[in-house]
C-alpha cells in the first residue's frame, strides 16, 4: 500500500533528521537534555549571588574608602591594608582568633577521637548514647553563650564555685585574656565534640574487623591498635574534620560576642579591653558599629587569607601525622 513506505522510514529513530521527528519525541528529547540543568540551577544561582559574589566583591570594597551608609568615597588602592598592618587592634584580634582556634579545636578533636573509640565498643543502647553526645550541637549558639556566661560569672558563677573546692581563688573570666579564651573555648568544645565524635565513630565502624583480629594474634595491645590501625584507617575523616574545624574555628563570632555582657550596648566588642575579640568580631565592629565598610572588608579579606593558609597547613600536618604506622 502507499502509506507503508513513509512509516517504515520513520521507525528507526536514529537515522531520522530532527525536523521529521514526532513533536512529542522532540519535546522529550529537549526535556531529557535540559531539565536536569534547570533543576540544579537554583543552587548555583543562590550560591553565586549570595555566597560567591559578595565574597569576591569584598576584595573590591577593601580597595575603597567605602562607608556603609554613604557609600563609595573613592578608590584608595592598598591604603586600608597599610592601615591594617599598623593597627594594634587587628593584631590583637588575629592573636585571639588563633589562640581561641588552637584552644578549642585541638582538645576538641582529640576528645572526639577518644569518645568515638569508647562509643565503638559494642555498647548497649548505642542509639541513646549517640543522641546524647549530639544534643549540644543542636542547641542555638546564642542560648549556649547565655548559659555559659552564667557558668563563668566572677561572683556567682558555678565554675568559680567548683574551683573554690580545690582552693582556687575566684577567677575573673572576662577580664583576663587567657581565662576568657579558656571560657570561650569551653563553649565551642561543648557544642562540637559530640558531633565530631559521631563522624569518627562512623569511620571506625567501617574499619575491617579482621585487621584487629590479626593484630590481637600478634599480641598488640588496645592502645597500640588504636594508633596503628584505627587512626590511619580513618585518616580521610580526620582530615575532613580538621579542615572544617579550621574553617569554622577561625570564624568564631557568637560565642565571644555574647560572652561579653556589653555586646548589645557598647560599640567595642569582645571584652572591655578586647581580650577575646576575634577577627570576625572586629570585622563586625568596624562594618556594622562604625560603618567603615571598606576597612571591615579589609579585615574580612585578610581573614580569608588566614583561613586559606591555616587550612592548608593543618591539612598537610594532619596528613603526615595521621598517616604514620
Amino acid at each position: 500500500m502507499t502509506v507503508t513506505r513513509p512509516e517504515t522510514e520513520a521507525a528507526p529513530a536514529v537515522s531520522v533528521s530532527p525536523s521529521k521527528e514526532p513533536k512529542r519525541f522532540r519535546l522529550s528529547n529537549w526535556d531529557a537534555k535540559y531539565t536536569p540543568y534547570l533543576i540544579i540551577a537554583p543552587f548555583f544561582v543562590v550560591f553565586g549571588i549570595f555566597g560567591l559574589y559578595p565574597l569576591i566583591y569584598t576584595a573590591w570594597v577593601s580597595l575603597h574608602d567605602w562607608q556603609l551608609i554613604d557609600g563609595d568615597q573613592g578608590f584608595i588602592g592598598l591604603d586600608n591594608y597599610v592601615k591594617l598592618f599598623g593597627d594594634a587592634n587587628f593584631w590583637n584580634a588575629l592573636f585571639n582568633t588563633l589562640s581561641l582556634f588552637v584552644l578549642s579545636t585541638v582538645p576538641q578533636l582529640l576528645a572526639a577521637l577518644g569518645l568515638a573509640a569508647l562509643l565503638d565498643r559494642g555498647l548497649r543502647g548505642s542509639a541513646f548514647w549517640r543522641a546524647g553526645v549530639l544534643l549540644p550541637n543542636v542547641i542555638s549558639v546564642a542560648a549556649v553563650a547565655l548559659v555559659f556566661a552564667q557558668f563563668f560569672g566572677r561572683d556567682f558563677g558555678i565554675v568559680n564555685f567548683l574551683l573554690g573546692f580545690v582552693g582556687i581563688d575566684p577567677i575573673d573570666w572576662r577580664a583576663e585574656t587567657w581565662a576568657s579564651h579558656l571560657a570561650v573555648s569551653t563553649m565551642v568544645m561543648w557544642r562540637w565534640t559530640g558531633y565530631n565524635a559521631l563522624l569518627y565513630l562512623a569511620a571506625m565502624q567501617s574499619v575491617p574487623k579482621d585487621m584487629y583480629e590479626s593484630a590481637t594474634l600478634d599480641g598488640a595491645g588496645r592502645w597500640r591498635m588504636f594508633w596503628s590501625i584505627t587512626v590511619p584507617s580513618i585518616r580521610p575523616t580526620i582530615l575532613f574534620t580538621v579542615v572544617t574545624s579550621t574553617i569554622g574555628g577561625l570564624q568564631l563570632f557568637a560565642e565571644p560576642a555574647l560572652f561579653d555582657p556589653a555586646f548589645a550596648t557598647s560599640n567595642s566588642t569582645g571584652g572591655s579591653d578586647r581580650q577575646f575579640q576575634t577577627l570576625v568580631l572586629y570585622m563586625y565592629e568596624k562594618g556594622f558599629r562604625l560603618f567603615d565598610a571598606g576597612y571591615a572588608a579589609t579585615v574580612a579579606w585578610m581573614l580569608f587569607l588566614v583561613v586559606l593558609v591555616v587550612a592548608v597547613i593543618n591539612f598537610t600536618l594532619t596528613r603526615r601525622i595521621a598517616g604514620k604506622g
Binding site: T58, S140, V147, F161, S206, T237, L258
Partner: protein, 274 residues
C-alpha cells in the same frame, strides 16, 4: 571489641559525658525558674524554684518575644520547605539523571561547602539595602533557600532508594523528567526529605550572625536576635536571659527528641560516604 571488665567503668564515664551534655540545659531551666536575687547566694541553685511563669512573663514584657517566635517560625519553615523541594530536585538530578558534566558539577557543590561565605557579609548587606530588604524576613530567607547540604543529602538518599529500572520504565512510557521525579523519585525519598526538612528547620531557627546584621532588633527580630537583646539590660539578669533561652531552645529540643535516631544516622552516613 569487647571487654567485660571495663564495662561498668565505661558506662560510668559515658553517663558523665551525657551529664555534661545535658547540664547546661538543665541549669538554664533552673535559673529560669528562680528569682534573680537567689543567684546572688553563695551556693548555686540546683533544684527548680517557683518563678518560672513570672520570668517567662517578664521575657515577653521586655522584648516582643511573640513576634520573634513568629518570625523565627516563618523563616525556619520557609527555609526548610524550600531546601527540601529544591534539594530533592537537585539531588535527584545528580543521582539519577544523565547529563553532561554531572559529576564535576557535583564536586563544585561539595566544594562550595568549604567556602567561608560569612566573610562576604559586607557586600551582602549592601546588596540587601539596595534591594530595600533591610529588616525584612526575606533578607534572611533568600540567601539560604538552597544549601549544598540539602543537595548532598538528597543525592545520597536518591542513590540509595530510587530504583534505576523504575525511572527507565517511566521514561520509556513517555513521562517527562519532572513527572518521573514526582511519581517515582519523590515518593521513594520522602522519609529522608522529612529529616532534611527538620534538620534545616533547626539550623535556620538557630542562625544568629546574619539575622543580627540584617534584621532590626527592635522591629523584626528572630528569637536568637531577641535573646541577644535580653542580655543587654542595665544589669545582668540571668533569670530573664535564661528564661528566654529556655523558650528559644524548646522547639529544637522537641524536634531532636522525635528525630534523634534519624539525625544521628544521617550524620554518620554522610561521614563515611562524603
Amino acid at each position: 571489641m569487647k571487654n567485660a571488665k571495663t564495662g561498668p567503668l565505661l558506662y560510668g564515664f559515658l553517663v558523665a559525658v551525657l551529664a555534661a551534655s545535658i547540664f547546661p540545659l538543665y541549669y538554664s531551666f533552673i535559673v529560669a525558674s528562680k528569682d534573680n536575687s537567689v543567684l546572688g547566694e553563695k551556693v548555686p541553685p540546683l533544684v527548680p524554684g517557683g518563678n518560672l511563669v513570672e520570668n517567662i512573663t517578664r521575657v515577653f514584657d521586655t522584648v516582643d518575644f511573640w513576634l520573634a517566635m513568629q518570625n523565627s517560625f516563618i523563616v525556619a519553615s520557609s527555609v526548610a520547605i524550600s531546601n527540601v523541594v529544591l534539594g530533592t530536585l537537585a539531588g535527584f538530578a545528580f543521582a539519577r539523571l544523565r547529563f553532561k558534566g554531572r559529576d564535576s558539577l557535583f564536586l563544585v557543590v561539595l566544594g562550595t561547602a568549604m567556602v567561608p561565605t560569612q566573610l562576604g557579609v559586607i557586600p551582602l548587606y549592601m546588596l540587601m539595602s539596595d534591594l530595600d530588604w533591610y529588616g525584612t524576613l526575606q533578607a534572611v530567607i533568600v540567601p539560604v533557600l538552597i544549601g549544598s547540604f540539602a543537595v548532598f543529602w538528597m543525592r545520597q538518599a536518591c542513590e540509595e532508594t530510587v530504583p534505576f529500572e523504575l525511572i527507565e520504565a517511566a521514561r520509556v512510557d513517555g513521562c517527562s523528567v519532572l513527572r518521573t521525579f514526582w511519581h517515582v523519585g519523590f515518593p521513594a525519598v520522602r522519609p529522608q526529605a522529612a529529616v532534611l526538612g527538620m534538620f534545616t528547620f533547626m539550623t535556620a531557627w538557630n542562625d544568629f550572625f546574619w539575622p543580627l546584621i540584617v534584621l532590626d532588633p527592635n522591629d523584626s527580630p528572630t528569637v536568637q536576635v531577641a535573646l541577644s537583646t535580653l542580655a543587654s539590660g542595665y544589669y545582668t539578669d540571668y533569670s530573664l536571659m535564661l528564661a528566654g533561652a529556655s523558650i528559644a531552645v524548646l522547639p529544637v529540643i522537641a524536634l531532636f527528641v522525635l528525630l534523634s535516631r534519624q539525625i544521628v544516622g544521617g550524620i554518620m552516613q554522610g561521614a563515611v560516604k562524603g
